[in-house]
Symmetry: D2
């Protein structure tokens, strides 16, 4: 995340927001954010959202995720929101959404689902 320049922008129980400011090296051929950045911050936001509900001394791993890319990644920054839909002792399911935030509009860039596993006795 540091490598991308992403920042943790909000942390509540089961709900995490990550922001990724626009940088030229994160764009693809048409000047939009590359899907790789979009999926990285979406996956990370969901992972942290699940982790907020995990017991101490545990760690989180992504089992799988699926992302629908709805609109080009545009705007001054991307905002990824991970929200726990179903917490569980072993598996947790999160909804992932990524928005492109500009001065006067907010575009739904991606929506997805993610399955996390709680790994016990292994601190993050």
């Amino acid at each position: 995340m540091r490598h991308l320049g992403a920042e943790l922008a909000g942390v509540k129980a089961g709900l995490v927001t990550i922001c990724l400011p626009f940088r030229p090296e994160l764009t693809q051929q048409h000047g939009y954010f590359h899907a790789g950045g979009t999926s990285s911050i979406a996956d990370t936001a969901g992972g942290y959202a699940g982790f907020t509900l995990f017991p101490e001394e545990s760690s989180v791993l992504t089992v799988e995720f699926k992302l629908n890319l709805l609109n080009p990644g545009q705007g001054d920054w991307l905002q990824a929101v991970g929200r726990v839909v179903k917490p569980g002792r072993t598996l947790t399911v999160c909804q992932l959404d990524v928005w492109g935030i500009g001065p006067d509009r907010r575009v739904h860039v991606a929506t997805g689902l993610q399955t996390l596993i709680c790994v016990k006795d292994r601190p993050a």
Copy 2:
């Protein structure tokens, strides 16, 4: 991809391989490749694989993809293979696989599926 340090390692019709050498800034807390790098090169390998079958003067966009993370991203480099399962005039479906390549073994890091759309009359 340049930002990640990934390289195009093989291009055939409907089959593309991308390699990502290990770099400390691409790892997560446990020293493995971060899932973000894994999913970025998987998505890119599939996109290029589809693109090899598209008509001239067209461009490729990822509609959606889904990735199962099977093993930690380990080894000297990651190898992502995108393979067209079903080519189409509008939509193309690819299988995505990522392997972690070490001196003496090859680990299946991720497997996935991806839907691409061919955008006509817009050069890549």
Copy 3:
């Protein structure tokens, strides 16, 4: 759907609800609704939800869908809700949710995402 005994319970623009009453032949080994029924009505609810926004003389096909099974399919009936997240001229993305409805509670049985394609000039 007729074969399953499912019924269209609500139709608004971009939002469709389908109900499937409990029947012994739809259960699996533990007495819950079988995942096959759950995914069938989820897919159908999303398909109809997209179709409500399509132009006349067009038809709908499911490109792909993904479903997370959150809780066993329990209750007197299943309720599947398909909601359009992103309408499009060619592709439409829907969120799918299935609930198990009992006399005194409502259980989130499944959540998913679906990509639909609008096929022009072919009536449904």
Copy 4:
């Protein structure tokens, strides 16, 4: 499965085939197999494939699955093949493929991925 008329056609360790003969009540508006039947037998084939590798006194649940519908479900019968890609103590990942089998050709109807969980001490 009995309700659909599906039959177990082959069982090896980590590889299961299920067949579903054509029946008018399983078709949708255009005379093809309905996607609901396709996804039901795909999910079941994968579940059984994982189950062949599970320890005794355990049971299998589908955590999630994703299916790309590649071609209309056509032919005399559908053949669903579930194949374990990554076995695990807790989670198992399967590849799902469905083929439409006719007198003189075999059409790739769907491909997908599925995550299973092994539930211990609960016989199937």
